[in-house]
Structures are given as structure tokens and as C-alpha cells.
Amino acid sequence: AAAAAAAAAAPLYDVVVSGGGMVGSAMAAVLGHDVHFHDKKIALLEAGRRKEYERMPDHYSNRVSSISPGSATLLSSFGAWDHVCSLRLKPFRRMQVWDACSEAMIVFEKDDLDDMGYIVENDVIMSALTKQLDAVADRVEVFYGSRAVGYTWPLPSHSCDTSPWVQIELADGRRLQTKLLIGADGHNSVVRKEAEIKNIEHRYDQSAVVATLYLSEATDNNVAWQRFLPTGPIALLPLSDTASSLVWSTSHEHASELLTMDEESFVDSINSAFWSNINHSDFIDTAGAMFRSAISLLKPSGTAVRQLPPSIAKVDPESRAMFPLGMGHATEYVQHRVALIGDAAHRVHPLAGQGVNLGFGDIACLAHHLSAAAFNGSDLGSLKHLLKFETERQRHNVSLIAAIDVLKRLYSTRLAPLVLLRTWGLQATNALPPVKVRIL
């Protein structure tokens, strides 16, 4: 009886998702649309305000994401992708990646000329997710302007007199209880810290500069460009036939300079970064050329045509911004009644455009296991199925995260041996379809 009275105090949810960014909101929406969660109670805690647009503003937002076809499939599984398409997005067919210190280049494109991915503004994704959360408002309760300030963890269930649920205290004093807490609160995850899950993290000595750029001339802008400079990769992601989004990872000092310099100089820096060959050395160029002829003897089609990136004319005045970069990986993704997804579990360098796609992959896997558990009448917070999610995702994520970290370090140098290694490596990879397909 005492237990029942205590339980009546704070409302009990089946699942609480902490963090209403793209990954947290999508997680709540996917569960809300799951047939086996029809009678369940889900809550989403978001510190910010509600984000919804009927029509996008004329200017592009400077925070964009590269959405993989797999992520697009997840978003369409609960009706969000239709909203994205009706707002705005830019499909791209091709990705050209090359080195500033040599001629080496790798081109990714799908054989059937399908879309390789989509460049979508984060605000567009959020708006689509908000709409789909509204559609299941009877199951998913969204708490805007709410931040969790404290968590109380239950003992693993034996018979005891204390509540078996996770207790959550909000900043405004309200309390919630839940059978499963999903931490989607970003790379500085409070859920992860409070659960005392160790995080392997490393701050890169780099910041990313973002901006919205206008091209010199309108073009069939369906290629994503990335060039590895010694200071870091610079990427141009298509937004429309006349505009592209910039993501330039570089040293903190250089990033600050880029932000403060006048618009003309900024545009010049970008064009120079893509076109200049000052980092080439004769030695590397010759070695690279030799390797290329060797490849073309063995595999005639193994060297691709080099396309030229567009040149930039103007930058959108208000759009320049910077943020620091780092990597992180939680040693555990789950605990009794707790699961981490998205950046709370893993943080990567933007050079591979994978960040949010890893988060969407986490969602697809976790939702699959939770749906099966619900259909079996299981306790949703039970480690049994949470561990299956952790194993599947760690197996997938760890190698990718490590590879991105290695690439970042490999390309951060001018030292000839390493440049040669990555030059030949890139050229070889470009010539070998099986390896390229694996990367995709």
C-alpha cells in the first residue's frame, strides 16, 4: 500500500526520451508510431522551444546535415520524410574527395545514378519531426522548455520497498518516473554522466566554420565536394542550383580569422582552398602520376575524370558561425533501464558526414528491439534486450568511428611519407569497387 501511494505521486511513463534534438525527437516519434506501443505512455523532454515551419524562410540555415538513404528510409517509415520533401532538401548524386597535397582523388557515385544522399537543413528535419510528434500526441507527451536536473536510479529489481523505476526531477520541480530512460542529450550528455558511464573523449584542435554560400554561376549542383587541406577538410554541400553550405574544419585560430575577416576575403579564402596547388610538391606529384599510370595499365577504368568544384561569389552575411570539434565514444550504451543514442553515445568529426546518420541507425536498432519486447509483454527497461541493441550498434559504430578518427589524423599532415601513403591509398581505393562500396 505504501508502495502504491509513492507510485501515485509522480506520473509513470513507459519511456522517457531526454533531449529533443533530431535524434531524440525521431526516437520518440518512431516509438509513438509503433503499433505495439499503441497503449503506452511516452514523454520527450526538450530544453528549447517548439520548432515548426509551415514554409521555410528564404535564407538557408547554416546548420545542415547529409542524410543517407538509410536515414531517409527511417524518416519515411513514420511519415516524416514527406514533410521534409515538401519543405526543402537537395539530393546529391556524387561525392568527390581529394587531397590538397597531391592529385589523388576518389569519387563516389551509385552505379544506377540514384541519389547518394540528401543535404537537408536541420531546421527542416526538426519541423518534420514536430509534425509527426503532433500526429501521435495521445501517446507522446512533449515537454518543451524542460530540463532534467536530477536522476535517481533504481536497484536492479529484487523485491525491495523502493520504487523500481527511474526517477527524474525537472528544473521546475516537477517529477516523472519511467520504466526506460533514453539519453539523447548530445555529446555532453547529462544522462551518461549521471549514470556514471565512462566516455572516451578527445578534443580535436579544430573548429568547424559553417556558412551559406552563393555560387558564381547556377549549375546542376548535385555533387558534394571535400578537399583535405593540411589544416583540415573543407567541404561544399549543395543546397540548390545557386547555393551551397560550407563546412570548413580548421585550427581554432584560423577559424576565428575566417569569422572576423570581411566577406570578400572570406570568399577568396574558400576559392583558394579549393583551387590552389601550393601544397603540392614535385616529388609527390611525380610519385602519384607513376602510381596512376600503373593502375591504368592493370585496370583501365580505375582512374576517374576529375570534375571541377564550383567557384563561390558571395557569402550570406549572417550565416558565418563556428563550433569546436571533438570525438567521443561511451564505453557502454546501456544500463538497467537506461539507453544512450546519438551523440550521447558517440561523437565524430564531420569529415565523413556521418554524425546524425549514426544516430538514426541507433534509433532503427533500438526501436526494433523495444517493439519486439513490447509485443512479448517484457519489462521495457530490462537489460536483456537493451544489451542486444548495444552489441549490434557497438559492432557497427566502433569501426566507423575509429576509421573517421584515423582519416582525420592521416590527413592533418604535410609529411611526405604519410602524404604518399594516403595518396596511393586514395588512388587505390578509387580503383577498387569493392572497397568503395563498403565505404558507402
Partner: protein, 285 residues
């Protein structure tokens, strides 16, 4: 129609509850809900027995309530222990009555469900034997589950007759238990209890294991029609259960009580004990 004979037939001299069995479970009454503890194999058995019950019932019914596949189904969980099987069935929408002769088990079960308001409403626990509830529960339940129970009862045929009493016509009976074979002795007792400690030592007595043929015979004799028999296998390394062809160790059985018109054999058996009962099927005696 059945009230008088029921009272006389099921007197307390005959009981399906075995008191030595009860003592064994008394010692472990508070260990039910430790998923990694003594009852871990029963916890992981839910992964196959709950889908078995759920899918069998879904196949037989035409209603489906989104999110609550067993909504509207009244289930009796006989020998419910700490409620390990009652809770998932309750979560799937069923109204569950869990009975167990051991008060400590019922106390544990009640306490565990009390924290979840949905389960607290859907599940009712009673400390009682099956015979004790027969009187007030004639033809009350749509489904009876007797999982890992029949190998502990004193009188199996009595147990089955009682099940028939409380089950509605065409209701389902689900039983999981252990076969009586050399293999089940080696795996079920020697390995499981003595060597690996998968099951607490002394839980089972090989003499009381029930071969599926015997169970099927008793069921058919008492108005049931056996619809499915499946072998089950426990993998101690992974801690998980799976289905298998052979019923030589563990198995699950699904039987359906015949509809109101078709009763002949049960009356025959009862007529032997209650000779003054007016028999509506005198022709079949």
C-alpha cells in the same frame, strides 16, 4: 448442474498440492525477481512461452486490439510463483488471476506488481490451490496456463479435471513441463541441478516428470483435445530457450476444452464416483 458433485469429488483429503514440494519453494520465495539469480532460466523461458501463448490465442481469435493483443482474455495462471508469467500476460492486455499455494510467493508477486498501476489493476493474486477456487470459478476463464507446474502436483488427473471445471467451453489450456526420459534425467536433474546449478538443487524429482504421451492421454480422457506439442531446449551457455522437434527433455502443450455439446468421457469417469447423479448422457456410460 455440476455444483453438488464438485463438492463431494474434490474433498480436502485429495489435493493436487504436495506439501514437500511447497517446502522447497518456501526457501526461495524472495528470489523470484532476480533475473540473474536462481530463477533466471524461468525468466528467459518467457521469450518462448509468452509468444507461444500469444500467437496461439491470436490465431484463434478474430479481434485484435492494437497494442493489447490479449485484451479481453481472462487467464488463470496456476502455480504462478512470483508472477513471472502473469506480468507479461498482463502487459499484453489480459486479465490475469494468479494462484499459488505458497503465501510467500503470492506476497512477492503482489509486491512486485504494485509499482505498476496498469498491472496492479489487471492482475489479481490469491494464495490458494486449484481445487479451492473451483467452486467459485466454474467456467470462468478463457485460458489456463500451468507452466512448470504439473511436475510438482500430487495428483495429475485431479489437476486436469479441475482445469476443465474452471475453463469455459473451447477454452485453452497451456502446459509446459519436463518429460520422463533418460535424457531428461541427465540434463534436467544431473546437469541442471547438480552440476551447473541452472535449477536450484532438489527442485525436481525425476519420478514425477510427465511424459507427453501420458499427459495427452489424461487430457483426452478428461474432455480436452490436444492441438499442439512442441519440444523445448535450454542452452546454458547463452541462457536462452528455443523450440526443437524432440520432446525428450522439456516440452509445451496446447489443449482445448471441448465445447458444451461434446462431453462424453468426463461424465463417464465422474459417474463412477457419483452414481446418484442424473446422467444426461446415460447412453454413453
Amino acid at each position: 448442474l455440476f455444483r453438488l458433485p464438485v463438492k463431494r469429488l474434490f474433498s480436502t483429503l485429495h489435493s493436487s498440492v504436495d506439501s514437500t514440494e511447497m517446502k522447497k519453494f518456501q526457501l526461495l520465495a524472495h528470489k523470484w525477481w532476480d533475473e540473474e539469480g536462481e530463477y533466471s532460466a524461468l525468466h528467459s523461458m518467457n521469450d518462448i512461452r509468452v509468444p507461444f501463448i500469444r500467437d496461439t490465442l491470436l490465431n484463434m481469435s478474430s479481434n485484435y486490439h492494437l497494442g493489447s493483443p490479449l485484451s479481453g482474455v481472462k487467464i488463470l495462471d496456476v502455480g504462478c510463483g512470483g508472477g513471472l508469467l502473469s506480468e507479461p500476460l498482463g502487459r499484453l492486455g489480459a486479465s490475469v488471476t494468479g494462484i499459488d499455494p505458497l503465501e510467500d510467493n503470492i506476497r512477492t508477486a503482489d509486491q512486485h506488481k504494485s509499482f505498476d498501476p496498469v498491472l496492479a489493476k489487471r492482475i489479481q493474486y490469491k494464495s490458494s490451490s486449484l481445487e479451492e477456487i473451483v467452486e467459485e470459478s466454474v467456467e470462468t476463464f478463457d485460458v489456463i496456463v500451468a507452466s512448470e507446474v504439473v511436475e510438482h502436483v500430487a495428483d495429475l488427473e485431479l489437476f486436469i479435471k479441475c482445469c476443465s471445471q474452471v475453463l469455459k467451453p473451447e477454452g485453452s489450456l497451456f502446459i509446459t513441463t519436463i518429460n520422463k526420459t533418460q535424457l531428461s534425467y541427465v540434463l534436467g536433474i544431473v546437469v541442471a541441478e547438480k552440476i551447473m546449478g541452472i535449477v536450484p538443487d532438489g527442485t525436481h524429482e525425476w519420478e514425477k516428470f510427465v511424459p507427453p504421451e501420458e499427459l495427452e492421454r489424461l487430457l483426452e480422457l478428461n474432455g480436452f483435445s490436444v492441438k499442439a506439442v512442441n519440444g523445448m531446449l535450454y542452452n546454458p551457455l547463452s541462457g536462452s530457450w528455443s523450440w526443437m522437434e524432440s520432446t525428450s527433455v522439456n516440452y509445451a502443450m496446447h489443449a482445448v476444452k471441448s465445447g458444451a455439446q461434446e462431453q462424453s468421457s468426463p461424465r463417464e469417469a465422474l459417474a463412477e464416483v457419483e452414481s446418484e447423479q442424473p446422467s444426461a448422457t446415460a447412453g454413453s456410460a
